[in-house]
């Protein structure tokens, strides 16, 4: 529309031999600025900043140190999971099984390192007598319990991602169906393994990962921050990263161009599972328990934050820094709605609406970019 208007103005100016009036130039300038803003890859950051500043006079407590600390501590575990989702969205896939991966690895990791279990609760669990006993897991009390358990969690997360990737890439199954079934299967498996019970008595060093802080900055900031930088470098500075975008933009073209589509697709799902496991480490550590229902309500937040950041549901477009901004905005939104003392139902309605708007905005941006 703007292009047509610009052409008409140009023709009119040429035919009349007069230049455009100053007000028209000003309008055009504002229009260009808005367009630049909308198309800017930092749009969500600007939006977060503006949202924060607009709310500040109405809810000053949003800027208290405790509240900013809450925003920061809530942001990083979610970001870890969302980074994994970014990889699969870029290749035009989706991973709905991330939250069930979180639940399963949380239970498995806790089973490895717990130091005590109540037989009344666990004696009917299938792992009882094999991996679990009244004295806890196989590494109960060992200094290696925490690092080995975390390694096992990451390994299991990556393995489930590999399984998903194989089903999508080798068997050509729809990602939506594969990961939806995965979500059901792995969350049921998590519940089955411990008969719905939470595993507590985890090592203090593990709990510290989720609850520890340096000043008001949680440990998760440093760990996820480094992982985010590495993920961004992988996408922007490596051949593998370019292959992800190529597959998401046009799989057939990527295949013809020599991209190892199957291996790269599997890799995207492996990364998704791996980052879901990283998120699980933080979430289960902050609750000091391995929980078979961990992350059960988190899927909307993960996909919502990633999409709000600007990663396209159609594939071929996305950056880790966008996901960082998306998670920031999403956590800020959630926090502010709580501070406004809105009921749970309104919070969910608003969050759902924002995600829908973000998806619609993605379509508009794509069209604008295509027209540029």
């Amino acid at each position: 529309m703007e292009r047509i208007e610009a052409k008409v103005n140009k023709v009119q100016a040429a035919s009349t031999g007069k230049s455009r009036p100053a007000t028209a130039d000003a309008q055009s300038g504002i229009s260009k600025a808005i367009r630049r803003l909308l198309l800017s890859e930092y749009f969500v950051l600007y939006l977060s900043l503006a949202y924060f500043l607009v709310l500040l006079p109405f809810i000053p407590r949003i800027a208290t140190p405790q509240n900013l600390g809450n925003i920061f501590s809530n942001m990083w575990p979610l970001l870890a999971v969302a980074i994994g989702q970014t990889f699969v969205l870029i290749i035009a896939g989706i991973d709905l099984s991330q939250t069930s991966i979180m639940a399963l690895v949380s239970v498995i990791g806790a089973a490895v390192m717990t130091s005590e279990l109540n037989p009344v609760l666990f004696e009917k669990a299938p792992l009882w007598g094999i991996l679990l006993s009244e004295n806890g897991g196989p590494l109960a009390g060992s200094p290696l319990a925490m690092p080995v358990a975390v390694f096992v969690m990451l390994l299991v997360g990556a393995a489930i991602g590999w399984f998903n990737g194989m089903a999508v890439a080798r068997l050509k199954m729809p990602p939506f169906m594969v990961t939806l079934v995965g979500m059901m299967f792995f969350s049921a498996l998590a519940i089955y393994l411990v008969k719905s019970e939470n595993i507590i008595h985890l090592p203090a060093s593990y709990v510290e990962i989720g609850q520890g802080e340096i000043g008001f900055i949680p440990y998760s900031f440093f760990i996820v921050g480094v992982l985010a930088i590495l993920a961004q470098l992988l996408l922007s500075r490596t051949v593998l990263g370019r292959w992800f975008y190529a597959i998401g933009t046009n799989t057939k073209a990527a295949l013809v161009s020599g991209v190892p589509v199957i291996r790269v697709t599997i890799m995207a799902y492996v990364l998704s599972g791996l980052f879901a496991a990283v998120g699980s480490v933080f979430y289960s550590a902050r609750l000091a328990a391995g929980r078979p229902t961990l992350g059960a309500t988190l899927l909307l937040d993960v996909i919502g934050a990633t999409v709000i950041g600007g990663t396209s549901l159609f594939g071929g477009k996305g950056k880790i820094i966008w996901t960082v901004f998306g998670v920031l905005f999403f956590v800020l939104l959630d926090n502010s709605l709580n501070l406004l003392n809105l009921s749970y139902f309104w919070v969910q309605i608003v969050k759902g609406s924002v995600i829908l708007l973000a998806a619609a905005f993605d379509v508009v941006r794509t069209r604008l970019l295509a027209a540029t």
């Binding site: 630049r36 800017s40 930092y42 950051l45 600007y46 977060s48 900043l49 924060f52 407590r61 800027a63 208290t64 140190p65 405790q66 509240n67 900013l68 600390g69 809450n70 501590s73 809530n74 009344v120 609760l121 008969k195 719905s196 019970e197 939470n198 507590i200 000043g215 008001f216 979430y283 902050r286 609750l287 000091a288 328990a289 929980r291 229902t293 961990l294 992350g295 059960a296 309500t297 988190l298 926090n335 709580n338 501070l339 003392n341 009921s343 749970y344």
Partner: protein, 356 residues
């Protein structure tokens, strides 16, 4: 230019954050000042964070707490975690950031309650736990909890006495709650105390897990009754599951009033209005009663006393002794059950007419 403006924005955000965080060196003094001012102005704020309101017990408890507190002029901030322990932790931290004067929680389970209580302790804000106690008492809190084991045992003892009148062994079934919830553990234990005390009366126990979930309870009970149609003694760990029990027993012609040869000896625990109605009509033989209104009053009074006394980490586990309402003591105790009070408020009579 784009990159420059973006970096500037980011720097602005970081600078703002740092500026806000700077006074954190003296947060205690600042918070005390705020709390004191609020108290002086008699504008106390209490955060009430609950896991969900899926049963009548929680709905009635929620109503009692919110209405009483607001009636006292106290500002109540409500948070519903939709059965997500992590969400509840974040919500309580949000409340702490708002410098509330006190926190009352209905936790998702005993394990997450320990962590949440710990967060409140760190912030020096008194916290009360309503009805569902923490898994351990490592972190100080005000806790009100019914003696679930004793109450369940009293109800099942009456059911066992009824079973003895049949002159044969009976097949017991228990619908177990979420065993991550100490209440469910206590109720299960109370049931087994009676079973173990009467080895000649009972066949092997059939356990039906429910996780406090209606749909799961229904499907698992259906399966259990298909496999064991001889069940004639059923204890539900919560009264909210009676509709599921009825929908399973009715097609089997086992949903009958006491005295009928197909009557399943039936009991539960909570004391809600549905249990009251079913006892009045003769379908249920006994129900363990948690004194909901006593529990709500007790936790609120303890919380307000702690706030007034300036206690930041009050530690007191308080018991609701509860009781068992049975067909034998119905005339004397029915009006003491909170569910019967709610039932009577709807205009319903508590007069029994079955078996006439």
């Amino acid at each position: 230019m784009k990159r420059l403006s973006a970096v500037l924005s980011l720097l602005l955000l970081v600078a703002f954050t740092a500026a806000c965080a700077a006074p954190a060196a003296a947060p205690a003094a600042e918070n005390e000042g705020t709390a004191s001012t609020a108290a002086d102005a008699d504008a106390r704020t209490i955060c009430f964070a609950y896991q969900d309101l899926e049963t009548e017990f929680w709905v009635a408890g929620h109503k009692a707490i919110v209405e009483t507190l607001t009636g006292l002029g106290i500002n109540v901030i409500e948070r519903n975690a939709n059965e997500d322990a992590n969400k509840q932790l974040e919500q309580v931290k949000d409340c702490i950031a708002q410098s509330v004067d006190g926190i009352i929680i209905i936790p998702q389970d005993g394990e997450s309650a320990v962590t949440i209580v710990g967060e409140a302790n760190k912030a020096d804000i008194p916290i009360g736990v309503f009805n569902r106690p923490p898994a351990d008492d490592s972190n100080p809190a005000l806790v009100i909890v019914a003696d679930n084991e004793v109450i369940a045992q009293q109800a099942v003892e009456y059911m066992a006495e009824e079973a003895k009148t049949l002159g044969r062994k009976v097949t017991p079934l228990i619908m177990v709650g979420d065993l991550g919830d100490p209440n469910a553990v206590g109720r299960r234990q109370g049931f087994y105390n009676v079973i173990e005390a009467n080895p000649d009366l009972f066949n092997e126990v059939i356990e039906v897990p429910t996780k406090w979930d209606g749909a799961l309870a229904l499907s698992n009970l259906e399966a259990a009754m298909q496999a064991n149609p001889e069940v004639d003694f059923l204890f539900t760990s919560s009264d909210f599951m009676y509709p599921m029990i009825r929908s399973v027993l009715e097609p089997l012609n086992k949903w009958q009033v006491a005295g009928d040869e197909n009557h399943v000896i039936l009991g539960g625990l909570d004391g809600d209005s549905r249990a009251c109605q079913l006892m009045r009509d003769g379908y249920v033989d006994a129900t363990g009663v948690q004194d909901l209104f006593f529990e709500a009053d007790t936790i609120m009074n303890a919380m307000l006393e702690a706030i007034d006394a300036g206690e930041t980490q009050p530690n007191n586990w308080m018991d609701d002794p509860g009781f068992a309402l049975t067909q034998a003591n119905w005339e004397e105790r029915a009006e003491d059950m909170w569910g019967c009070k709610l039932f009577a408020e709807t205009g319903e009579s508590l007069e029994r007419s079955f078996g006439e």
